[in-house]
């Protein structure tokens, strides 16, 4: 395991013609810490390093598999299989784009910013398209498999898609367990506007 991670770092050490140490010194010299945001934000974990290749070059398949497994193993499922919170609160989380920028108030709860990338409530026209539409997500049913898949996707999306562009809401501490449950309800609850197609 340790050997494999070292290998990943070694592979990531050569980004195009730019050596990792040149990159790291340029970054550290080019930014200042401000408010709650420090220079530690510039450091990469092995997954980020692996997924920083120009033009979607695919990396070593064995390393990718290893990173995917590590991501999967790190997922923390909610206690006593209780996946669903309140869809009303989840709607707020999905709508809120704030959190973790130096311009944000760290005292306030982070948002999930789901609308930046996904269509959800069909009545909301201001949705981005970096990710697929999640409208009518509840139609997939509430089987254990679906609940666990979706929770895992939200906790650490790289468990399924190693270089997914979606943030790791659970693993990176962007959303709390309660917020994740609320977002889950927003996706699955039959009363949620996500699943309410008739206007």
């Amino acid at each position: 395991m340790k050997i494999k991670i070292t290998f990943v770092l070694w592979l990531a050490g050569c980004i195009g013609f730019v050596q990792a140490e040149d990159m790291s010194s340029a970054l550290n010299a080019g930014f200042k810490s401000i408010n709650q945001v420090g220079l530690d934000r510039l450091e990469q974990d092995p997954l980020q390093a692996f997924c920083s290749k120009p033009r979607e070059e695919s990396g070593d398949a064995a390393v990718a598999a290893e990173l995917r497994e590590t991501a999967m193993a790190s997922v923390v499922l909610p206690g006593n299989g209780d996946y669903l919170g309140s869809w009303e609160r989840g709607q707020q989380v999905a709508n809120n784009g704030k959190g973790l920028q130096y311009s944000d108030n760290p005292e306030e709860a982070n948002g999930g910013n789901c609308y930046a990338c996904h269509q959800l409530d069909p009545a909301e026209v201001a949705y981005g398209n970096l990710g697929p539409s999640l409208t009518n997500y509840g139609a997939r049913g509430q089987s254990d498999v679906m609940l666990q898949y979706t929770w895992t996707k939200l906790w650490n999306t790289h468990a399924y898609n190693v270089c997914s562009h979606m943030p790791r809401f659970g693993a990176q501490g962007i959303l709390t367990e309660q917020q994740l449950k609320d977002v889950m309800a927003f996706l699955f609850d039959p009363d949620s506007p996500v699943n309410n197609l008739a206007e």
Partner: protein, 270 residues
Amino acid sequence: MSGSKIISVAACLVAAVMLTGPAYAEEAGIFDEYRAMFGDDNPAIFVIEEGEEFWFASQGPKQATLESCDLGLGPGVVDGAYARLPRYFKDVDRVMDVEARLRFCMQELQGRTPEEVDDHPYSLRGDLGTEMEALVAWLAEKSRDLPIAPGQEHDKEREAYALGEAVFYYRAGPHDFSCATCHGQEGMRIRLQALPDLTTHEGAAVAYSGWPAYRISEGVVRTMGWRMRDCFRQQRFPLLDMGSDVTVALQTYLAVTAAGAPMAAPGLKR
């Protein structure tokens, strides 16, 4: 349309947009209408004039002007200089963008301190605009319609391109974002804001040629350096330093990708 009228119409429209709250669709629509209304008029015109005044103003402990500042085409040559940046400067042995070079000239020629020069380079929302913004707007105007042609002959210029490309794809921070997350595919948008694909010539050309720009939503002229800083904020990174190697490298990457397209700045942006 007189200058003050343009500004007051702008203020009303922005206020109207704010009142409609989260109605993003209306917002996008109203900005398009507003942009169309301007036609060839751009409130940046006043900022351009101000920039020219700053260039010829005696400032700093040396009470000198910027008139002999060498932007790459020789001391005092401003016509066409912006379109050839970023480029390598022998006197400092590094690649510089327009802001890094102006910053250097302010210190060398006028004797101003780095602290003073870096104190407030970009205006806050609703501010009157800064000296840096005005100078950059004027210089960009002096390159209007000229092809974007950053330096790529010197080794350090090619290194800057390679660093810029690597930074563009560098994922880090709590959200794992890189520039490529938001600007690496065609036809993407966040909420309703269209995201140019900056990895293609077409996307980079449209984006690069229009900066510096008058930003309707903020009522000020913004520079490409500010754009880099603000996208890094959205990326959850710390504060990007004006004129740093990182910002110079990113702008080199964008300018080389956009090379050949005509400059059209100061532009008019959302």
